[in-house]
């Protein structure tokens, strides 16, 4: 009888162990404050069949001592990342590395969709994981998933990530959105319930991995628990942990970084043994290295390199062009010292006035009509016509497809300017009066010295000359062009007529910070990011409406209206959507990619054929 009882008890204990390991309520095998498990000796998985199903393949695995293997690819990066963990860097190159070794509940895929990564599904009101009021978002994580050192990935890591981001002793790049979280509940290891203080429709930008997302990814609590000053921590700069398909084995400063296959990755094992990232600052050297086979993939060619890459097919080199939601645009300084009165309060005052005629929508429209944007796009940038855009949300769900880009129509442009009272003078340049003061259409365009911008401004200069507008290009190094108000940079100070650069409103479409009155930079608000110095109550109202609902369909309607309004008023001049241009060896199996996901969203599927 006793023997049967012991057997029964043993069965119950074993079954409960197996269930607890797989069922998601298991506590971590090591206390959260314990030293990283990478220092622990490697052990075999437990012997019982049930436990094996929910155990890491290699407990205590350490990438720095792992064998590199023989099958790998070499990728050329033009710049070296400054950090490896995404939320502590503003560099795209860091975000790409982060995509390879980091994890988040979701990630953006090759169709620009947010798809589950370590989560079982994307929260929505339909599946009940987003509350009706939009204030609560529940992430449900896959069971039996592990960090590279064999420690479990749990909802506690999500909680810890939020705490780390909000800890004033740490300095992440952005706390935007994290500071909207009131609390996170972790009822079990697979569930994180996020309670927001107020509606935050951009919640997918928190935690989820994407290259344009400085708040994506989660941190392993067992590595960082109890630490502060994470931005300086060696495990942020050169982590020995990973959740994704690869982990960083070595990083030789300025030269290369090698990532090796993570044996504890929860997804399909990576097809390559390693990814070697070589830092090649000169694009021409990158191209030469591609030709010699020293590298298999170069990730950041310019659009103007497309014809060169097309000509290399006979040398076994392929290329790919992914349209992105980044866009190049020309914009006006719309600043006024008067600002706007909204709800009885004066907002959006600039320190100086912009070029007075820019306040007239017809003048802005004339300038758009006076530039042959399509010709530059197809002849110089070598993109197809889909990159010819009408608004600032291209290649995304949010783009207003009913809008047609303004055509090149110099005759109509000249008529609009004539009608506005600005006549061509004897010197061929238009002049007139604005608000009682004489004005002349001799305008500066500020931008960086990138070659395509030098060509672009020359193109614009030539086109606008035909309608009586004189353009004086001013190419300023990016470090000064994008400088801050306190450093005396022209854009925030409002000391410019027009400017050109690339930006993008994605993965969340909200343009707060760039287009709203409250962010016009001035003496009282020197860190404001509204370089357009645009303060329009209608734009502000639509931006606010876009944040008043978490329903994507409802938001889409609002952003369509915003785009229509900006289009009608010709508030900015979209030039073209930017593209990611890759050159790669024909022996490389390059999985599908997209403008939002970039090349490395599913790094495990890269392969090399013989």
């Amino acid at each position: 009888m006793n023997r049967k009882l012991y057997v029964l008890l043993a069965v119950i204990v074993l079954a409960s162990m197996a269930l607890s390991a797989c069922g998601g309520t298991a506590t971590p095998t090591a206390p959260a404050t314990q030293a990283p498990a990478t220092q622990a000796p490697a052990t075999q998985a437990p012997a019982t069949a049930a436990a094996t199903q929910c155990a890491p393949a290699k407990m205590g695995w350490d990438p720095t001592t792992a064998d590199t293997g023989s099958k790998g690819m070499t990728v050329a990066f033009e710049q070296e990342p400054d950090q490896a963990v995404g939320m502590f860097s503003n560099m795209s190159f860091a975000a790409w590395i982060w995509q390879i070794f980091g994890v988040g509940p979701g990630k953006w895929d090759d169709k620009n969709n947010l798809v589950p990564y370590i989560a079982t599904e994307i929260p929505s009101t339909a599946n009940g994981d987003v509350s009706a009021d939009g204030l609560t978002v529940t992430w449900k994580l896959k069971p039996c998933i592990f960090w590279s050192d064999g420690q479990p990935i749990t909802s506690k890591d999500i909680l810890f990530t939020w705490q780390a981001m909000m800890n004033p002793a740490n300095n992440p790049v952005s706390r935007s959105g994290w500071n909207q979280i009131a609390s996170i509940d972790t009822p079990d290891d697979q569930t994180a319930v996020i309670h927001f203080k107020s509606l935050y429709p951009a919640w997918p930008t928190l935690l989820d991995l994407g290259p344009n997302n400085t708040s994506g990814g989660i941190l392993p609590a067992h590595i960082f628990q109890g630490k502060t000053g994470l931005e300086k921590d060696p495990q942020v700069h050169q982590p020995t942990w990973a959740g994704g398909p690869f982990a960083i084995k070595e990083w030789v400063a300025g030269d290369h970084m090698t990532l090796v296959r993570n044996p504890n990755y929860f997804g399909s094992p990576a097809k390559l043994d390693y990814i070697n990232i070589k830092f090649v600052p000169d694009p021409a050297t990158g191209l030469a290295a591609l030709k010699t086979g020293d590298v298999d993939l170069v990730v950041n060619f310019a659009e103007s390199d497309i014809p060169t890459l097309q000509g290399l097919a006979s040398q076994g080199i392929k290329y790919r062009v992914d349209p992105t939601s980044d866009f190049e645009h020309l914009f006006f300084n719309l600043g006024t010292t008067a600002g706007q009165t909204i709800n009885g309060k004066v907002v959006g005052q600039s320190d100086v006035d912009g070029f007075c005629p820019f306040q007239d929508p017809n003048v802005r429209k004339a300038i758009i009509l006076g530039i042959d944007r399509l010709s530059f796009l197809t002849n110089y940038m070598h993109e197809d016509q889909s990159a010819f855009i009408a608004s600032l949300w291209p290649n995304s769900y949010w783009y207003n497809t009913s809008l047609t880009p303004y055509p090149y129509d110099p005759t109509q442009a000249a008529s609009l300017l004539d009608a506005a009272g600005y006549k061509v003078g004897s010197d061929g340049i238009r002049a007139g009066t604005c608000n009682g003061k004489p004005v002349k259409f001799s305008l500066g365009i500020e931008t960086t010295p990138a070659q395509f911008r030098i060509d672009d401004v020359l193109h614009i200069q030539s086109d606008l000359k035909k309608i009586g507008i004189d353009i004086k290009p001013n190419h300023i190094p990016a470090g000064t062009f994008f400088g801050s108000y306190s450093e005396g940079a022209d854009m925030p100070l409002g000391k410019f007529d027009m400017a050109i650069y690339t930006t993008g409103f994605y993965p969340d479409p909200d343009p707060t910070g760039s287009l709203d009155c409250a962010d016009v930079p001035n003496k009282a608000n020197p860190t404001g990011g509204n370089n357009y110095h645009l303060c329009d109550p209608q734009v502000d109202s639509l931006i606010a409406q876009g944040l008043a609902t978490a329903d994507p369909a409802a938001r889409k309607k609002v952003y369509d209206q915003l785009q229509q309004y900006m289009y009608d008023k010709a508030l900015v001049i979209p030039l073209f959507a930017r593209a990611n241009v890759y050159g790669y060896s024909s022996k490389l199996v390059f999985p599908p990619s997209s403008g939002w996901a970039n090349a490395f969203w599913d790094a495990e599927n890269f392969d090399i054929t013989k």
Binding site: A76, D82, A253, K278, A289, T292, D294, Q315, G479, G529
Partner: protein, 319 residues
């Protein structure tokens, strides 16, 4: 001697102080570290204010400089604004590779320049002299990026197309499986540096030797019946090489600064690239750290060269 040394060291400290201050002003005026965060919709005004505060950029420029120099005097060059790594560590990582590249190039340049200068002087106005002169001018007048890309196109890309053993362009410098990788990777950048810099040295040496060969003591040596070889190597060259040694001595500290264009084109992870990549982003702790190391070396070697004069040339007295 000692009073001279003390005086020079005091001058050096003042010079270094002025150099760091000028470099700080130039760096801060030429690039704003906050520019990196200006154009990203996800980063709010509050984020930018927090970043500026955490980097000390919310303080007036004189305060920023005094903070930096205060730390530097304690041997702490601070941390990079972006990588957050200690600047000293970053320099330690890059300096050995710069010394390997520039040291190798300098040795080859000296050997080639000595040989060419000597041959050109001895065979003055001959076909060989004219040939050397022509190639010297070609090398001297050619931009280094032209030679660098040209050598990559020929010795890497085309050699591969022709089925010949080709040199690497972007291969790893530290490849444990291939210990010769470093040497192979050195060939093209060293070749480019040598092609450009040999010209100046060899022309300088040629004129120096020619000047010495026309002196009375050389004629006397010939009159004594010494062979041409003995006159050249035992008498003429030893004197002619003195100014050459001075030039090389003064060039040595600049080796620490690396070669910006060469390092960038050949993806060489040296000091020149470190300086440029972080200067572009306005990361002044890194920029000033590199400049401080380089300028300290220049000042130090200037003193050493001055002291060396007294040993090489007994006519010079420091007092």
């Amino acid at each position: 001697m000692w009073s001279y040394l003390v005086r020079r060291v005091a001058q050096a400290i003042l010079i270094l102080f002025i150099i760091t201050m000028l470099c700080f002003i130039l760096t801060r005026l030429s690039s704003d570290p906050m520019a990196q965060y200006a154009n990203k919709p996800g980063i709010t005004a509050a984020d930018r204010a927090a970043i500026a505060k955490s980097l000390g950029l919310d303080q007036p420029l004189p305060v920023q400089y005094i903070r930096w120099i205060g730390l530097a005097l304690q041997g702490n060059l601070g941390n990079s604004f972006f990588s957050k790594q200690p600047v000293l560590t970053m320099i330690e990582q890059r300096l050995p590779l710069t010394l390997i590249l520039m040291g190798t190039a300098e040795v080859v340049i000296i050997i080639v320049a000595l040989t060419l200068g000597l041959v050109a002087a001895v065979k003055q106005y001959s076909f060989v002299d004219n040939l050397i002169t022509s190639f010297s001018f070609i090398g001297y007048s050619m931009p280094i990026f032209f030679i660098a890309f040209g050598s990559i196109e020929i010795f890497a890309v085309q050699f591969k197309v022709w089925g010949l053993p080709y040199l690497p362009t972007g291969a790893d410098i530290w490849d444990p499986k291939d210990p010769l990788a470093l040497a192979r990777h050195l060939v093209l950048p060293v070749f480019s540096l040598v092609a450009i810099q040999t010209a100046g040295y060899s022309r300088y040496l040629r004129s120096s030797i020619l000047e010495v060969l026309g002196m009375d003591y050389v004629r006397t040596a010939h009159a004594k019946g010494l062979s041409n070889r003995a006159v050249l190597f035992k008498h003429a060259l030893r004197n002619a090489i003195l100014p050459f040694v001075t030039i090389v001595g003064l060039d040595i500290p600049f080796l620490l600064g690396g070669a910006l264009v060469t390092e960038s084109i050949f993806a060489w992870p040296g000091m020149g690239r470190l300086f440029w990549e972080y200067a572009e982003r306005g990361d002044y702790p890194v920029v000033l750290g590199v400049l401080l190391v380089t300028s300290t070396a220049v000042v130090f070697f200037t003193i050493i060269v001055d002291l060396a004069y007294t040993i090489i040339d007994p006519r010079i007295r420091l007092s």
